[in-house]
């Protein structure tokens, strides 16, 4: 089985799902045998899922519209 260090070297691509089937097999084997890496993988995957589904930093229209209106007003007066 691969070592934790080797697992961590592939970890970023594993999270991004960008690995070949052969590498995936090695990593899955490691995760099934090593508790620390299992916890790391499981919680990292959950982190990414929570973050991507959180709709964080959405700019509400109530904020964006006045900004765009002010900009457009300045551009219109600047031109005439």
């Amino acid at each position: 089985m691969i070592s934790c260090e080797e697992f961590l070297a592939e970890f970023g691509d594993y999270l991004e799902n960008q690995i070949s089937p052969e590498v995936r097999q090695e990593l899955e084997l490691h995760v099934s045998q090593c508790r620390a890496c299992h916890v790391l993988y499981d919680s990292s995957r959950k982190t990414v899922k929570l973050v991507t589904e959180s709709s964080s930093f959405e700019l509400p229209e109530s904020v964006s519209e006045p900004i765009i209106d002010r900009v457009m007003a300045r551009l219109r007066t600047g031109r005439s």
Binding site: E5, S20, T47, L50, S54, F57
Partner: protein, 607 residues
């Protein structure tokens, strides 16, 4: 004498001794490279690995394939050389002539014939290789290791033929007569040329040969690639069935590409990019665009070289260098000594011209190998390049299925229309663009400024700046990429004015060090059920704002704005590996920060 000067090397120069032992003589092609002994070492490494007796294909059959490819490419130098090698191995004149005139008459066993045809197709029609070609070999009983060896052997033949054209060595032995009619008879090669219009998703696009996992901890050469590239490209990962060949390739790369004593690393990457583009090799184009970005070249410049280097900002002499390489790499029949003289009159030294020819040969080696193994891309190639390949009817289709490309094109066309209108002063079009991209601008500003209130404040300045400079947008990058660069500039100006200036360009602290996760407590099964939607959002936002700016920007664009890694790299002017490193660190830091709220011992209010 060849096109370039030659110097005497000591008798015991290792590579020469190796050729002496393997062939009984040192070919003039090697003497033609004596100005740069390290490139001879590179070729010797490749040749001895491919020729090694331990390989899956017999020595005679390998030389037979090398001869046939040389004949097919009308390379008289290599034909004379390989004929001699075969006759030294005991092949009769009659057999050699049969091979040269029509290999169907050479009485080859069916399996050997299939392998030879495979190699000829790969050498000549690399972009049309497909999994059926591999299946045909498997049906003859060939193992995957042997198929991999055949691909590398073909790539070596292409390497040598490219070099012999570029260096013009004197023939080692008397010339051979070639039958011109034999060339490109369709039945030789047209086994499985995929028809255009075929449904792409239905085809197995590779990798064609399985590749067992090799770690950079146990396989030394991978550790070197990890250091020089920042990651292990699929190109190398796809060849792990034969670590011996892989090791020789990496040593060749090391000797040809990494030294900066003759041409610079950037010049060499430009050569690799331009010739790969001319060969319509999307994989290698994407790779070298990325490496150039990592060497500090703006992404638009790399993209432009891929589409047409004449329109790039390179110096006139560097453009001439690329002209030389592209001609040598793709239109050998037009290449002559005149092309060498032209570079000399522009002030290039003989060493530089030699290195340029060797880099071009190495490029064709890599292009052939990639297509022969169907190696999957590490990165997306520049969209403009993909369009060009598509328009030129290139055999290699864009990565997405046809319908998707079409839709994206339409959307981009609509946007291009709005941009053009805004550039001609139509405010309504500008307003539409501002609305459409407001979210992206806001998130970029928030990530850099580290504060949503400041970001809202900076929105107005950014939009005014976009309008002021919109004529400067030339359509060489995506409009959104350009917007992000304006937003970044605006944010940086603001930071410089303010007190707490957190530099983004500062080397990321400890980027080299491995990030050691500390938190090892397990998380609950359904963390999203622990908090309400708005609580969750607040938690994530606080966690992201707590990240160092470098990581914050990457996580924001990738995970919140959900751009692809490649797009994030373009927008921030970073290489993809650099983005990947920061993304992983950022995510792991975020995980540490969020852990106390999601561990199994925590009771969320939803419970």
């Amino acid at each position: 004498m060849s096109f370039l000067g030659e110097v005497r090397l000591e008798e015991e120069f290792g590579p020469f001794a190796a050729f002496q032992e393997a062939l009984g003589f040192v070919p003039n092609l090697l003497y033609a490279q004596t100005l740069l002994p390290r490139v001879i070492e590179a070729q010797a490494k490749l040749e001895s690995a491919v020729r090694s007796q331990g390989g899956a294909i017999s020595r005679v059959h390998k030389e037979r394939i090398l001869l046939s490819i040389a004949a097919d490419r009308h390379d008289t130098y290599c034909v004379a050389l390989e004929s001699k090698v075969l006759s030294l191995l005991g092949m009769s004149e009659g057999q050699i002539n049969d091979l040269l005139n029509d290999y169907h008459r050479a009485d080859l066993p069916l399996a050997d014939l299939a392998l030879l045809q495979f190699c000829l197709k790969l050498s000549r029609y690399a972009p049309s290789m497909c999994s059926e070609d591999i299946e045909a070999l498997r049906a003859c009983g060939f193992e995957d290791e042997l198929i991999l060896e055949a691909v590398v052997l073909t790539a070596l033949a292409v390497y040598r033929c490219t070099l012999s054209v570029g260096l013009g060595p004197e023939a080692d032995f008397g010339p051979r007569k070639l039958a011109p009619t034999r060339i490109a008879r369709p039945r030789d090669v047209a086994l499985h040329i995929p028809s255009p219009g075929i449904h792409e998703a239905a085809r197995n696009k590779g990798p064609y040969v399985p590749a067992p996992y090799l770690s950079s901890k146990t396989f030394g050469p991978f550790a070197i690639v990890q250091k020089s590239h920042g990651f292990i490209p699929n190109f190398f990962r796809a060849q792990t069935l034969r670590p011996d060949l892989l090791e020789a390739e990496l040593e060749a790369v090391d000797r040809i590409l990494l030294p900066e004593d003759v041409l610079t690393r950037v010049q060499k990457e430009c050569i690799l990019l331009a010739v790969s583009a001319a060969n319509l090799n999307s994989y290698c184009v994407a790779m070298h665009c990325n490496l150039l970005r990592g060497l500090g070249m703006p992404s638009e410049e790399g993209d432009q070289i891929a589409v047409d280097h004449h329109e790039s900002n390179l110096s006139e002499s560097d453009k001439a260098l690329l002209d030389f390489a592209v001609k040598l790499g793709t239109r050998v029949s037009e290449f002559s000594r005149k092309d060498v003289v032209k570079l000399q009159t522009l002030g290039f030294t003989e060493e530089q011209i030699l290195e340029c020819a060797v880099v071009t040969a190495l490029n064709n080696f890599a292009n052939t190998l990639q297509m022969g193994l169907g190696i999957q891309p590490d990165f997306e190639p520049p969209p403009d390049f993909e369009n060009k390949v598509h328009l030129s009817g290139g055999a290699q289709p864009p990565i997405q299925a046809g319908g998707v490309v079409h839709l994206v094109d339409t959307l981009q066309d609509t946007e291009a229309g709005f941009v053009a209108q805004a550039q001609s002063g139509k405010l309504e079009a500008f307003e539409e663009l501002a609305r459409h991209h407001g979210q992206l601008i806001y998130r970029t500003l928030t990530a850099i400024l580290g504060n949503p209130a400041d970001a809202q404040d900076a929105m107005q300045d950014t939009l005014l700046s976009v309008y002021k400079h919109i004529d400067g947008f030339q359509g060489r990058s995506k409009f959104s990429t350009w917007l992000v660069s304006i937003a970044r500039n605006t944010a940086f100006q603001r930071l410089r004015r303010g007190k707490h200036f957190e530099s983004l360009d500062e080397a990321v602290c400890n980027e080299e060090q491995d990030f050691r996760p500390r938190q090892v407590k397990a998380w609950q099964d359904n963390p999203e059920e622990l908090y309400s939607k708005s609580e969750m959002r607040q938690l994530v936002e606080r966690g992201i704002l707590a990240l160092p700016a470098n990581y914050r920007v990457v996580v924001m664009l990738r995970d919140i704005q959900q751009l692809s890694t490649d797009e994030v790299a373009r927008q921030l002017g970073l290489s993809v590996p650099a983005v990947k490193t920061r993304l992983l660190r950022g995510r792991l830091m975020l995980r540490e920060w969020l852990s106390p709220h999601f561990m199994t011992s925590v009771k969320g209010i939803a419970q």
